[in-house]
């Protein structure tokens, strides 16, 4: 017991002795034995309970209140004194313990006053019970007690003033009673199950005490004998009220005995739900919630693994954190009426189990994330043993060579082509032996379609995990890209060969002849000037033709007019050299140089094809911008039937267009002319 408790007990003994002395020496006490017994029972009930509450750190405030009720109870004994002044003081102070009692009742069980109404009620009670008797003593003589000493504190004997003061204080007393009942009813209705278990004894004993008091008051007029019996009952009823207070407070202490059982239950708990159930039982709170802390994600989750907003969950409730090895592992959210010490004891007892379950939750969350990640990966995954047996798989069954029910337990040698199976087993062996990732491509024919797969093999303990991706489309695109590159290189080589041949056969030959002619003319200049003149004339003609051929060649490499004056002028020039009438529609603004060049060669090739094959009478060329794309169309009214897959001209154009992320389409139904349409991105 603490020093404060000893002090209360000491005061209690001293006050008891004084009180007993006053009662038993009183000239105006007709039932000293009953009065003494009643005072002792009631006062020590409160003192005893107060001392017990004072010994609990969480109930110190409440302990003071109950001790105050018990100790001040003896103030009423002063009115037993035969001394007029002491007697009068006793009449002034007798109601003080009732004020402390109302304070204790309205602060139960939390130990503090919760709302402004409760504050006002308690303050009013203190005022009424402290000031009221003073006023009565100041304005009125004692009546109804002929043996009592005279009122030493009277100032004016005024029955009217007494009546007036009485009326005021009856009204204030009604307010206090009504407010107290209102607060207690609301508290009961709002209380959770555990709180009601704490409130119930206090409310019940208080109600019984008040009921017996009222009954005794009514009965006393009819039968003093029955009234005396009722007053004895009232004695025990009032004495039981502090015991009920104490029971409520001790209820949480008694519950600590269940902590030991909790440890055993938590040890046997196999899942978070069992742990939650054990905690609810130990704390007597069926609404208790449990949250686990995930340190890697800085989040709380409930027992089912769902994310939880602890702050929101804790509204109007109390949260007790559970720590293990200095780190927060969990929290339980419980009724705020639960004893903090008990919650702390349960927290300590459950810390090991909750730390274990927190680890499980962390693993579950991690597993859940990885599973979500795996599900997001479209690849096939197989778990296989070293000997090639399929143990498990994940993925689309449509991508499997055999149905999944046949796959599991089968061996790769029985399912895959021998060459593929052997490569796979070599890869598994390599991955298991070295721990390195083994990779490789293989081809399978599924549903009559040849598909290419890329396999990555990683070690997982004694087993291998295969991650298989269908790369058929990528392979096809790579093949097309390679073919396109080869065609582009070949087209370049061919263009250079053609250029060299043209230079050699054309301009170069003419320049050689020119050189020889000039040398011959030089030799003949003196002996045969006429022949020299003829040779020079021929040389001049040869030179003019060589120049023309060089111009033609240069135009074929890249038309200067295109880069200098744009697509419109270049197409006009092209149209001017075409063997059939050509209509040209081109936007006035310039396109990007690469697009202009590609458009020029598409149209140039198309016109060359028209000249060679189309037998057309007219050609229409249009270049437009549509939704951020340049659209080039060349349409003729010839015989049609052009095949873009034959001949290098059109396929070369396809490569050139696709190199710019463009698209080339050829429509050429026999007899319906040919329409070539190329589209390029052109922001």
């Amino acid at each position: 017991m603490k020093r404060t408790g000893w002090a209360v007990v000491g005061c209690g003994i001293l006050f008891s002795a004084i009180g007993l002395a006053l009662v038993f020496t009183s000239d105006h006490e007709s039932t000293p034995a009953f009065t003494a017994a009643a005072n002792l029972v009631v006062a020590w009930s409160f003192i005893g309970c107060g001392v017990v509450a004072l010994s609990r750190a969480s109930d110190t405030h409440f302990g003071f209140l109950m001790s105050a009720v018990g100790l001040t109870w003896f103030l009423a004994a002063l009115s037993e004194s035969n001394n007029g002044l002491v007697y009068s003081i006793g009449n002034v102070l007798w109601a003080i313990p009732l004020a402390f009692f109302i304070h204790a009742l309205l602060s139960f069980p939390r130990g503090y006053l919760e709302t402004k109404l409760v504050y006002v009620t308690v303050a009013t009670a203190y005022v009424i019970l402290a000031v009221g008797p003073v006023l009565f003593q100041l304005f009125g003589e004692n009546t109804g007690c002929s043996d009592c000493p005279a009122n030493e504190l009277i100032v004016v004997d005024s029955p009217n003033a007494v009546d007036f003061v009485g009326l005021i204080f009856i009204l204030l007393g009604l307010f206090v009673c009504a407010a107290t009942i209102w607060v207690l009813v609301r508290r009961w209705r709002a209380a959770s199950a555990p709180l009601r278990r704490v409130l119930a004894p206090v409310f019940a004993t208080s109600a019984i005490a008040i009921g017996v008091f009222l009954l005794a008051a009514f009965v006393s007029a009819a039968s003093q004998t029955v009234a005396n019996v009722l007053f004895w009952l009232l004695l025990f009823a009032v004495g039981s009220v502090p015991i009920a207070f104490l029971m409520g407070l001790l209820r949480t202490r008694l519950a600590r005995a269940s902590v030991a059982n909790l440890v055993l239950e938590l040890g046997a708990a196999r899942d978070p739900e069992s742990t939650l159930s054990a905690l609810r039982g130990a704390l007597g709170d069926p609404s208790l919630g449990l949250a686990y802390w995930l340190p890697d994600r800085s989040r709380w989750v409930d027992v089912s693994g769902w994310e939880l907003d602890l702050e929101a969950e804790s509204q109007g409730r109390r949260t007790t954190l559970v720590e293990h090895d200095g780190a927060v592992v969990a929290a339980f959210i419980h009724d705020s009426s639960l004893d903090a010490e008990l919650a702390g004891a349960v927290s300590a007892a459950a810390s090991l189990s909750l730390a274990r379950e927190q680890s499980i939750q962390v693993v579950r969350q991690s597993e859940s994330r990885y599973r979500a990640l795996l599900n997001a990966i479209p690849d096939l995954m197989f778990r296989m043993s070293r000997d090639g047996t399929y143990l498990d798989f994940k993925g689309d069954r449509a991508d499997l060579a055999v149905p999944p029910e046949e796959l599991i337990g089968s061996n790769a040698r029985d399912i895959l082509p021998a060459e593929v199976a052997e490569r796979l087993l070599r890869g598994i062996g390599q991955a298991l032996d070295t721990g390195d990732v083994a990779t490789g491509d293989y081809e399978l024919t599924l549903d009559g379609v040849q598909r290419t797969f890329e396999a990555r093999i990683v070690r997982d303990g004694e087993e291998a995990v295969l991650i298989v991706r269908d790369i058929s489309e990528r392979k096809q695109q790579e093949g097309e890209l390679r073919s396109s590159r080869v065609r582009l290189v070949r087209a370049g080589d061919e263009a250079r060969r053609r250029l060299e041949r043209n230079l050699h056969d054309g301009a170069q030959q003419r320049l050689v002849s020119l050189s020889l002619a000039l040398r011959l003319a030089h030799a003949r200049l003196r002996d045969a000037p006429e022949e020299a003149e003829r040779l020079l004339a021929g040389a001049s003609e040869e030179l003019a033709q060589a120049l023309e051929e060089l111009r033609e060649l240069a135009r074929g490499i890249h038309p200067a007019v295109l880069s200098e004056r744009g697509l419109s002028a270049a197409l006009e020039a092209l149209a001017g050299r075409a063997p059939v009438p050509v209509g040209v529609t081109v936007p006035p603004d310039r396109l990007p140089p690469a697009v202009e060049a590609a458009a020029y060669y598409v149209i140039s090739e198309a016109l060359a094809n028209v000249a060679k094959y189309a037998e057309a009478s007219a050609v229409e060329i249009s270049v437009t911008r549509q939704n951020g794309r340049a659209v080039i169309e060349v349409a003729d009214d010839g015989v049609g039937g052009a095949d873009p897959t034959r001949g290098s001209g059109l396929s070369g154009l396809v490569d050139r267009v696709e190199a710019l992320d463009g698209v080339l389409k050829v429509e050429s139904e026999p007899g319906a002319g040919t329409r070539i349409r190329a589209e390029f991105p052109c922001e």
Partner: protein, 120 residues
């Protein structure tokens, strides 16, 4: 005095043949004939028995080296073959020597003196 004076000019470019004829005739050579392809060259060499065949390396039907090989390996009188081209002789590497030709003259450098120098 060089006795190899009768020349057959083989080239598919008429202007070159005309200029080469005038140039060689001015230098004392006798141009006995002109051919514009390999087949015609072999035919005229057989009929005209030239001392020298001035043979272009690039002909429309046959490779000039192949024609040279045939001319220098045929039975009977074999003409001396001198290859010509508008390209530099070094472009052809060992092909000139392997063809049995006496030598090579770049077309731009053709003259009676150059031909005599090759014929020795």
């Amino acid at each position: 005095m060089n006795t190899l004076t009768r020349v057959l000019i083989v080239d598919d470019h008429p202007s070159f043949r005309a200029t080469a004829r005038a140039l060689l005739q001015a230098e004392g050579f006798e141009v006995v004939g002109e051919a514009e392809n390999g087949v015609s060259a072999l035919q005229q060499a057989k009929e005209l028995h030239p001392d020298v065949v001035l043979l272009d390396v690039q002909l429309p039907d046959f490779d000039g080296f192949e024609v040279a090989t045939r001319l220098t390996s045929q039975n009977g009188a074999q003409p001396v073959v001198v290859l010509t081209s508008s390209r530099d002789g070094s472009d052809f590497g060992p092909l000139v020597a392997q063809s049995g030709a006496r030598g090579f003259i770049a077309k731009g450098e053709l003259s009676g003196a150059a031909l005599k120098a090759v014929l020795g």
